[in-house]
Subunit: 153 residues, 2 copies
């Protein structure tokens, strides 16, 4: 009956940053910092970026790679504990057609004078059995960008 | 650093109902039906129940067992396809203190003249390593209530 097969998967990625939990956390809390590491970059254009970093608040971004299809990301914050934890759920769509919904849990722990950031994504991915693997690889690139942002004043 | 340990887990429960997908789906779509099987019941009191069954819409309920603590449930719909699929994420709190955040995917499939409902919960549960098991058992009870509601005119 359904034309869409749904795949459920989860993965965890972590990265140790030589910056305090407060500095790493600020990369999620502050709109201009989040925007830089999450959606900006050479070849990408950002059509919309809204950030309401409160429990129950919503994020919305719309962006595309060169002249590619419009990608949108719509999230809501389920929990925020300063410098310690962020839980957001979000869906992604291409040209208005949803292709995933995920719960993304972030924890920030002081470690070796820096911060261990751990991300666990638990998601439902549409049609593509390899989507979670691709998402995980995408996060590894994003976490490298986040590291540059954490060093920035 | 964090006083709260987070546990990630997922489970799937399914149930075959002798009712059409449209009838089973209506138990989620219609506020008075959802309220009956989800939060009402002898011994429970419902302090609040709001239902906005649209993509991006929010649900909110607040209820307690007898004179117990106030439990709240705050959800947002990530995807809705009539008679086929519902994806909601939600957090639960006791007296304002969040104790879980979950992504809940429902699929409705015509099967043997009835409907196979499959629920997959992927969640982050606070402090209690057995929380997902308890949640799964809770859903089994709720799905029995849903079955009664699906038979109701």
């Amino acid at each position: 009956m359904s034309a869409t097969t749904l795949y459920h998967a989860s993965f965890t990625v972590e990265r140790l940053y030589p910056a305090s939990p407060a500095r790493v956390f600020a990369c999620f809390a502050k709109e201009e910092k989040l925007r830089r590491w999450l959606v900006e970059g050479e070849g990408w254009s950002v059509d919309a970026f809204r950030h309401d970093f409160t429990i129950g608040g919503r994020d919305h971004s719309a962006f595309r790679w060169q002249k590619g299809p419009l990608i949108t990301n719509d999230g809501v914050y389920h929990d925020i504990v300063d410098n310690e934890r962020i839980i957001i759920s979000y869906s992604m769509a291409m040209e208005g057609k949803i292709f995933s919904a995920s719960l993304l849990t972030h924890t920030f722990e002081a470690r070796d004078g820096g911060t261990l950031l751990t991300l666990t994504e638990q998601g439902t991915y549409y049609s593509d059995p390899n989507a979670a693997k691709g998402r995980e690889e995408g996060f590894l690139g994003l976490l490298a960008e986040l590291g540059k942002e954490a060093e920035r004043d």
